[in-house]
Each structure stands twice: as C-alpha cells, then as structure tokens.
C-alpha cells in the first residue's frame, strides 16, 4: 500500500491530484479484519478474570480494535475460551462455535482450555478444547497474565493479516462426523488426551 510513485502516469493524470492507492484486496480486507475483531468471551474459570482485566481500562483491549465485546456468538468473529470446559459444557461450546458466522477464529486461553491442565486430568473435564473445535492460538499460563493474552491476540492478528483468499481451506466450516459428532478421529483424541501429552505436544513422556 502507498501513494503512487509515478505521478507522471496517465492514470494519475486522469484522477487529477487526489491521492489514491493500489493494493492487494487480501491485504486491504485482512487489515480491516485484524483491526476490528469482535471477541466473544467464553469464560468458565479464573482465566475469565484475567480476560476481564485485559478488557478493562489498564490493559484495554480496545487498543487492538476490540472495542466491542460480543456476548452473542452471532455477532462475533473471535471466540476466546477462557477456562476449563467440562464434558457437560462440550456440546454447548460446539454449538456456540457453529453459531458464529465466518470468518471466525478461536483463541484457547490458559492451560485448562488448551490441554486440560494436568490437574484436571479427570472424568469430568475435556482435555483441551481442540478436541471439540479448531483452535488458532493457544495462550499458555495458569492463568495467563493480560500481557500473555494480548501477545496471543497479536499473534492471531498476524495470522489474520497473512491469510490469502486463494486458500480455500481457510473458511471450511467445522463438519463433525454426523454419527459420533467428533471432528477428529477417536484415536487422535485419545492421543491428545494422554496424561502428559496434550494438544500443543508438550509431551513429557519422551523425556
């Protein structure tokens, strides 16, 4: 993007002195998207408290274009899952993700949402929300500080910035297997949920 370097060209002369730009459409659209993400907080635990701190005046998410917190999935494009998700909540989170219109992204905030956190390796807690919905950015921490979440959000903004509309896989809607409702193979889920393996492959079993 930038002012035309060729003021002598016919195009410039046709449009008189008014400034104009040329750019890739992707760059322009992504620039708009990354600076106006509407986050939908899905807060279930202490991470949500840190999220509130991030959104409040001291850390001020509005600086990153997130002026509006969307509390309806239908008007959101960024799902921030902050906190552990029990199995009872799994269909709810899945439904919320499916209700969000494209384009949409997901940040998994904190160790519980990313991997089940080890201490919640029990009968009631989903071992990482990526077993239920696709995740774009994982923010580590228990809970992450607001700086950590902002770093994750900036990573996501970088990701949005570099998207290409020619990549047809980008806007694929989540289509779970109609019979089992899983979108990953069962053995993949079992592997991801192993006691020390988790969704970001920080496995300790190999050490």
């Amino acid at each position: 993007m930038g002012l035309s370097p060729r003021p002598e060209s016919r195009l410039v002369q046709t449009h008189s002195d008014e400034p104009w730009i040329t750019t890739r459409l992707d760059a322009f659209v992504n620039w708009g998207r990354k600076n106006s993400l509407w986050p939908m907080p899905f807060g279930t635990a202490c991470c949500a408290i840190e999220f509130m701190a991030t959104a409040a005046s001291k850390y001020d998410l509005a600086r990153f274009g997130m002026e509006r917190q969307a509390f309806s999935p239908r008007q959101a494009d960024l799902l921030i899952c902050a906190g552990r998700v029990p199995f009872k909540l799994a269909p709810v989170l899945r439904r919320i993700w499916q209700q969000m219109p494209q384009p949409k992204w997901c940040i998994s905030m904190g160790a519980c949402a990313s991997s089940g956190n080890g201490i919640f390796d029990n009968y009631a807690v989903v071992q990482g929300i990526d077993n239920i919905i696709p995740v774009d950015v994982y923010v580590p921490g228990c809970p992450p500080r607001p700086e950590g979440l902002i770093y994750g959000i900036m990573m996501l903004q970088k990701k949005v910035e570099n998207e290409r509309s020619s990549d047809k896989s980008l806007r694929n809607e989540l289509e779970p297997d109609p019979k089992s409702q899983l979108y990953l193979e069962p053995h993949v889920i079992d592997e991801l949920s192993e006691p020390f393996g988790n969704s970001v492959h920080q496995t300790r079993s190999g050490l």
Binding site: F87, N122, Y123, A124, I189
Partner: protein
C-alpha cells in the same frame, strides 16, 4: 412449627435467640485452643441419647464438633426430632453427603450436617451402610426442602438412593451419564471410558434438552429427552435452570 408442604410458612429466626441471656454459649465468639478430641459435647447429643436410647450408637467430639452415630433405620426420626423439638430447633440443613473409605470392610457413612440457629449449635449425624447392604438412606426432603439438590448431588456422586426424594436424578453429571458414580472408590479418576468415547457421549447430548417445555417448543428438542423427563415436563414442571 408446622411443616405442611402445602402451606409454606416463614418465620424469621434470630441467631442465638433461644439461649438464655448471660449464658456464654450464646455469644458469637470464635473459640480458641479447641482440643482435638474430648471437647465440650453438644447438649443435643445427650438429649438424643435420652430420646432414642440404643439407636444412638456413639458420640464423638472432634475439634469441638459433635458427631452422633445413629441407626440408619432411625436416622429420619432423629433428624425429624432435632428439627421439631422445641429444645433443639435444628432449622438449617447445611449438607447431606456420604463417605466411602478405602477400607473394603468399613461401612459407607451417610452424613447430615445440621445447624440450630436459635441455639447456635452444630451437630453432625452419621448413619452407616454395611458393605453388601443396599445403598439406601431415608430422604429428609420432607423436613428440609433444601435437601433436594444436596441429596441429588449425593446420589449423582455415590449412587446412594434417598428413599422418599421426589425427583432423584443426577445433578452435576448429565442425566444420560453412563460411567457410574465418580466419588466411589472403585471409580478411576479419568472415568471408565476412553477420552474419545467420553467426548462422543458428551457431544451426543442435546444442550437444549434441559429447559422448560415452553423453551423447548422453540428448540424442538423434546423428542431427545429421556422418557421420565418427558413425563415430568408433560405435567408442566420446569426442568433445569
């Protein structure tokens, strides 16, 4: 005090109001240097022994709190008496739960925590279920309406049936949960099924299937409900939050 379910009555209770003035027991103080064992016995324990005789098996005082072991068959009578008797007035049921020990010989205990606001007393009633006996305890829902969810939670976690509870079904886990009772000692911490199977069963649940019939008519989820829930909803009852 009447406990007619048709006529809810409300009489405000002032804490300590039944204690004679000048009695140090009436002061709301935090006690210090409480002995581990052998502290002051709650006077209700002696009164229970007098009223119920051999049905009161043992009285323990641990960290200043009195525990009374009673026969399971008389547990409901004991709690009813503690609630109704003018010299006791245990008007607040703070918890119903159960304890299972790692020892396979030791009985499973059902625990009721009762509090008397007018007398500023706390008492713990325990009744035991021998191994091999039916996991059943009397419901105190007819005495304390607050027992509803406490007993449902206990049923959910231990599989303990409370006889007389009007609507005994799972509270924390979803109603179709198939893996058993999570707080039992033979229950593995990660559950009985593989993670993928657990997730498959959880995702099969319809998140709308927990509401009243009016809301359900919007979601058309009525057909997905278990049969007993359909029956209850058919009578106009609200289910879920």
């Amino acid at each position: 005090m009447s406990n007619d379910p048709g006529k809810p009555t409300f009489t405000p209770v002032i804490a300590g109001s039944a204690i004679a003035s000048g009695d140090p027991a009436g002061l709301p103080v935090t006690r210090k240097n409480v002995a581990h064992r052998g502290g002051d016995v709650n006077p209700s324990a002696g009164a229970l022994k007098e009223a119920f005789g051999a049905a009161v098996r043992r009285v323990d005082v641990v960290w200043g709190e009195t525990t009374v072991y009673v026969d399971m068959a008389r547990a409901h009578d004991v709690i009813q008496w503690l609630h109704d008797d003018a010299s006791q007035r245990y008007d607040y049921l703070s918890d119903v739960t159960a304890v299972e020990f790692r020892d396979l010989e030791q009985p499973i205990e059902v625990v009721w925590h009762l509090r008397s606001l007018p007398y500023r007393r706390f008492i713990r009633i325990k009744a035991q279920i021998e191994r091999g006996q039916k996991l059943e305890a009397p419901s105190v829902w007819d005495i304390y309406r607050g027992a509803d969810w406490l007993e449902r939670e206990c049923y959910d976690m231990f599989g303990l049936r409370f006889v007389g509870h009007p609507d005994l079904r799972r509270l924390l886990m979803w109603e179709q949960y198939k893996e058993g009772y999570p707080l039992r000692k033979d229950f593995p911490a990660r559950g009985r099924f593989s993670r993928s199977e657990q997730l498959r069963q959880a995702l099969a649940a319809n998140p709308e299937a927990r509401y009243s019939k009016e809301e359900l008519s919007i979601a058309d989820a009525f057909e997905d409900l278990p049969d007993d829930m359909k029956r209850r909803l058919g009578t106009g009852e609200r289910v879920g939050e």
